[in-house]
């Protein structure tokens, strides 16, 4: 499994996203660039210019027509993938840490930072997935997080709920229509920030990664913890692989916490766990900084990781990956075949 190294960024990576078909990769970094890449060969499709600050987040709509990005310049922007034009800019009082389209691409949520007297909020915007359409200026909904600021958020199946992960380690479920808080549950260790929240393909459950060195698989409708994956390093990201029942975790000692930087001490590896049995299955080395984001190819053929070291590594799974099954799984497959 020789990875493709995407060396287009000059600073730490913040987020990577595959489009639905798994043939394009979008990456954003602190160097104020958004890059689009071909997943199969690592060729750069282009860049999107306009942001005036570190870009924290990016998402692509389900039809691969537009992308949304959120940045430290306090804006969310919409871009035409094909032409690279900026279609719309929404301004906010503080930086935007996370954006995500809902399942049919009609709504976009943004998580804004708590700073300068402004509380952290989750905003919802109406989006028209058409490069020629006029975008609506107004926020449809604003959820204010007065307890502990939200660090990550996402849309559940049917755009029914907005799920947010908080700085204090708790997870909240909001009604996506009214913005009412349904409930807030302490999931991770107190005051270990939740660093990532990624969905299973059908958005009925999701995985959270936290600084408490664990990742958890949680249901969307009642926030029940299904599985816990324990690692030995603070985690920055976690993703669920489609097709095979694995999860990939990424993290590593933050640069500020490492006294002597060595690849061994930093634990800059992507870790594979079995989604159902919670066992660690393997690790992939290569980065020389903490992994800031891991993303799984929606077609299940590979995954990509972005690191503090400024590189994106795109991995295509090889035969061993597909062949690997637990005896009980094989048993089950045989049963199903009959």
């Amino acid at each position: 499994m020789r990875p493709i190294l995407l060396a287009g960024h000059e600073r730490a990576l913040a987020q990577i996203k595959y489009n639905v078909d798994g043939d394009l990769i979008f990456s954003v970094s602190k160097d104020q660039q958004i890059c689009a890449w071909f997943a199969h060969n690592g060729e750069r499709l282009g860049t999107y210019h306009g942001h005036q600050g570190a870009i924290w987040t990016v998402d692509v709509d389900p039809t691969s027509t537009i992308i949304a990005s959120g940045s430290a310049d306090n804006t969310i922007r919409l871009w035409d993938i094909k032409s690279g034009k900026c279609l719309k800019t929404w301004e906010f009082p503080t930086a935007v840490k996370r954006v995500e389209f809902n399942e049919d691409g009609t709504k976009l949520l943004g998580v804004t930072e708590k700073r300068m007297g402004h509380l952290g909020t989750i905003v919802v915007l109406d989006v028209v997935v058409d490069v020629n359409a006029e975008q609506n200026d107004e926020k449809v909904l604003t959820i204010v997080c007065d307890e502990s600021k939200a660090t990550v958020a996402g849309w559940s199946y049917l755009s029914k709920y907005i799920i947010a992960g908080h700085e204090d380690g708790s997870v909240s479920q909001y009604d996506a229509k009214t913005g009412d808080l349904n409930f807030n549950i302490a999931i991770h260790e107190l005051d270990s920030a939740i660093t990532d929240l990624q969905w299973a393909p059908d958005r009925t459950y999701f995985i959270t990664a936290s600084k408490d060195k664990t990742a958890k698989l949680i249901t969307a409708d009642d926030l029940r913890v299904l599985k816990t994956y324990v690692s030995d390093t603070p985690l920055n990201s976690a993703t669920i692989t489609p097709k095979k029942d694995f999860v990939v975790l990424g993290g590593g000692q933050a640069a500020m916490d490492v006294t002597r930087t060595s690849a061994r001490q930093g634990k800059f590896e992507a870790r594979f766990y079995h989604k159902i049995f919670e066992d660690e299955i393997g690790r992939v080395r290569g980065h020389f900084g903490p992994l800031n984001y891991v993303a799984a190819d929606p077609t299940g053929k590979g995954y990509a990781s972005g690191s503090e070291d400024g590189y994106v590594r795109v991995h295509q799974f090889d035969k061993g990956y597909y062949d690997f099954v637990y005896e009980v799984e094989r048993e089950r497959q045989r049963e199903l075949a009959i």
Binding site: T63, V129, Y157, L158, D202, Y205, Q265, I276, V328
Partner: protein, 750 residues
């Protein structure tokens, strides 16, 4: 500038030209005397005096006064000795001291002091006599004290019986704020027996026979044990720092760097005599202090010539009190002058005087009761060394206790330092002598081995080693040893010095005799700095510990059963490396008491990188690896010596094959059943998951249908988009065929 009033010093006052003592101010004093204390706090009652007549009385009073004035101030007219009707004294006296503190001192120091051969003083506070002795306070009739009914204590050695019947060892782990005791489960996670938060404040320690687990607190030391893990004993030593046991678990020494200060209201177990002391020696059975000692002032002591005079602050010598192998004696070094040997349990100085050895730098007891040839009487041995003083050579001496007879001495020249290493059976004593050349430029080390058990204690010199020997270790119960040399001086550099590891063993000899010690092998270019022998001998781990760069563990077998190289055929060892391992950041290593397992750990006391432990078997095969946040300490629970006789042990060894067959079957069964359990568990998890997925998928599908939404929202969107891009065709497939020329060659066919 004249001194201002608040900077006025005593010296300035003394310059005044009159003497305070000469001025009679008693009249003023009397007039303005403030009566601070009322009552009888300054009075003591002295009992146990001889019966005297009126004529003899002044003589007795004078005699008594001498004693009384040793602790405070009193006068002849302040002693009141009541006389009986028959003109003879009533054998007691009231004495008034000038202060209550002096009266208290008199009670403390003069009570039970012999006046002469016949009479012993009993001194009590007047107020105490009043309080406890008043009429009605004492029953006229004797009532025997109520003896509490005997309550059976918990079996403190129950830990030797493993409930699973596998003879596992226990261990304690201290991580974060939690201390837990576990059964070692080899590859599986250790089985928890008890786990408590904040069980100790600084560290935990097992007693040497494994009976008690010691926890250390600001108030003192506590012992825990038995199947219920309840508190067994308490030893109140405020701000205790360190704890050391006598080898047979009879006594304990506690040390605190803060001198004990007894509060005014007293201390539950310590008395005012212990005030200002740093060490306490305890009797474990009764948990009572036997005696306390203050720390020796080491820096002010006489300079030791030849010893490390690099100006570095000398480390606290610990254990400061060293025990003889049978707990009968405990000794402390008075550097440069003598060794104080105390007898137990009385804790009296042996022969009432310390053993004077001029210049003595270090000493050590034989770790076992020695059996010298031809010596029938009881003895313990201790060895000591003195550096070169003037033109006298440095000396290593072997002293027999209690006779204090010097059994053997060895004179040495050009000595920089000496280390004493006893073999665990006290069969050998290796004296590692660091020598310097005349110019003090080059260093060399010699090993002088005393053969204690042989007649006359012959001394054998093993090889002069050019390099500095930084570590030495005898095989426990054996006669082989390992040393680690380095060519460079050991300095606090980031890069560890290159070291070499050398193995030594005796030559083969006829009969029961032990041959001369010979060099077996040297392994060059290592980083190792520590030697850990298996407690049963034969196997040894050579490791690099507490080092940033390397952390190797090498497992050696000295009785390898394979082919023996020709060059070693006359030696009693066959060295073979069994395995090497690497435990990044390892700080400590410990063999379990049975010699089957080795635990290595990286303690957060030393650094915060990858704290946790590894577990290896004796062959060096890694069984477990567990990173644990803030892992601090691991300690195997020691076992008391075996109760089996030599013959019984031999029989077991002979039938080992049969036993091992049984054990192997048991192990296989256990592993199989464990595997089955794991598979069962996985099957359950998988079923659970699949069922949950099925339910959720159905629910969501229903919900979508109810809301009139397509089953797969994305597929619909994509279809719409495709229609938009290419309205004419349903779908357009563009196929691109690439051909790549891999190789081209031209062949000319003749």
């Amino acid at each position: 500038m004249a001194p201002s009033y608040d900077t006025l010093r005593d010296e300035d006052l003394d310059e005044d030209d009159y003497d305070m003592d000469e001025v009679d101010i008693s009249d003023i004093q009397e007039k303005y005397q403030v009566q601070l204390e009322q009552g009888y706090d300054t009075f003591v009652v002295v009992d146990g005096l001889p019966e005297v007549t009126e004529e003899q009385k002044p003589k007795l009073v004078k005699f008594l006064l001498k004693k009384l004035n040793t602790v405070g101030k009193t006068r002849e007219d302040l002693i009141f000795m009541p006389m009986g009707e028959d003109g003879k004294s009533l054998r007691f006296a009231f004495v008034e001291y000038s202060s209550a503190a002096e009266a208290a001192a008199a009670v403390r120091q003069l009570d039970l002091v012999a006046l002469d051969k016949k009479y012993t003083l009993r001194v009590n506070k007047m107020t105490d006599v009043d309080r406890y002795g008043r009429e009605g306070r004492i029953d006229e009739e004797y009532t025997p004290p109520k003896i509490e009914e005997f309550q059976e204590k918990e079996h403190l050695r129950s830990f030797l019986l493993d409930p699973s019947g596998r003879g596992r060892d226990q261990l304690v782990m201290y991580r974060g704020e939690t201390v837990g005791v576990f059964w070692n489960n080899e590859k599986d996670p250790p089985e928890n027996i008890v786990d408590r938060q904040h069980w100790t404040e600084t560290f935990v320690q097992w007693s040497p026979l494994g009976t008690y687990l010691t926890s250390v607190h600001a108030q003192g030391v506590q012992f825990w044990g038995g199947p219920s893990w309840t508190r067994q004993k308490r030893f109140a030593h405020p701000f205790v720092n360190l704890v050391a046991f006598s080898p047979n678990e009879n006594y304990m020494v506690t040390w605190s760097n803060r001198p004990i200060s007894i509060p005014d209201e007293g201390h539950p177990s310590l008395s005012l005599d212990d005030d200002g002391k740093n060490y306490i020696i305890w009797d474990i059975e009764t948990s009572k202090p036997l005696r306390s000692f203050a720390s020796l002032e080491t820096p002010g002591g006489p300079a030791v010539p030849g010893a490390s005079d690099d100006g570095k602050r000398q480390k606290l010598p610990w254990p400061a009190f060293k025990w003889s192998a049978d707990d009968k004696y405990v000794a402390r070094l008075n550097p440069g002058s003598s060794i104080s040997i105390y007898e137990l349990p009385s804790m009296r100085l042996m022969d009432k005087t310390a053993v004077k050895i001029e210049g003595v730098v270090d000493f050590d007891w034989a770790p076992a009761t020695p059996a010298r040839e031809g010596i029938k009487t009881y003895e313990q041995l201790l060895c000591f060394w003195t550096p070169e003083i003037g033109s006298n050579p440095a000396k290593v001496g072997l002293m027999s206790i209690p006779s204090k007879e010097i059994v053997r001495t060895l004179n040495l020249f050009s000595v920089s330092d000496v280390r004493l290493h006893w073999q665990s059976d006290a069969a050998y004593l290796c004296v590692k002598v660091d020598r310097h050349s005349k110019s003090k430029k080059s260093q060399a080390t010699t090993l002088e081995i005393f053969r204690i058990k042989e007649k006359g204690v012959p001394v054998e010199v093993v090889d002069t080693i050019k390099d500095t020997v930084i570590n030495f270790a005898w095989e426990p119960k054996g006669d082989r040893f390992v040393i680690i040399n380095t060519t460079e001086p050991v300095a606090a550099t980031a890069v560890p010095p290159k070291t070499s590891v050398a193995f030594f063993c005796p030559e083969k000899a006829k009969g029961n005799a032990i041959g001369n010690f010979k060099h077996l092998r040297t392994l060059e270019k290592k980083n190792s700095n520590a030697i850990y022998w298996s407690p049963k001998g034969r196997f040894v781990v050579i490791a690099t510990v507490a080092n940033q760069q390397s952390s190797d563990l090498d497992f050696y077998d000295l009785d390898f059963e394979g082919e023996k190289p020709e060059s070693d055929k006359d030696l009693t060892a066959n060295l073979q490396i069994m395995n090497t391992a690497d435990h990044y950041g390892v700080t400590d290593i410990e063999w379990d008491p049975s010699g089957r397992f080795v635990a290595t750990w990286a303690s957060s006391w030393k650094h915060s990188m990858e704290n946790g432990y590894h577990l290896y078997d004796f062959k060096g095969e890694q069984l477990r690896e567990e990173p644990i946040e803030k892992f601090k300490q691991w300690a195997w629970r020691p076992r008391p010596p075996t109760l089996l006789s030599k013959e019984e042990q031999k029989t077991i060894r002979r039938n080992l094959r049969e036993y091992s067959r049984i054990f192997e079957v048991e192990d296989a069964e256990r592993i199989n059943s464990a595997d089955v359990a794991v598979v069962e568990e996985r099957r359950r998890l998988l079923d659970e998951w699949l069922q949950w997925r099925r339910e959720t998928e159905e629910e969501v599908a229903e919900e979508r249908e109810a809301m009139g939404l397509p089953l797969d929202p994305v597929a619909e969107l994509l279809k719409a988009k495709t229609a938009e891009i290419a309205p004419d065709q349903e779908e357009q497939v563009i196929e691109e065929i690439m051909e790549e020329v891999l190789d081209e060659s031209e062949e000319i066919v003749a």
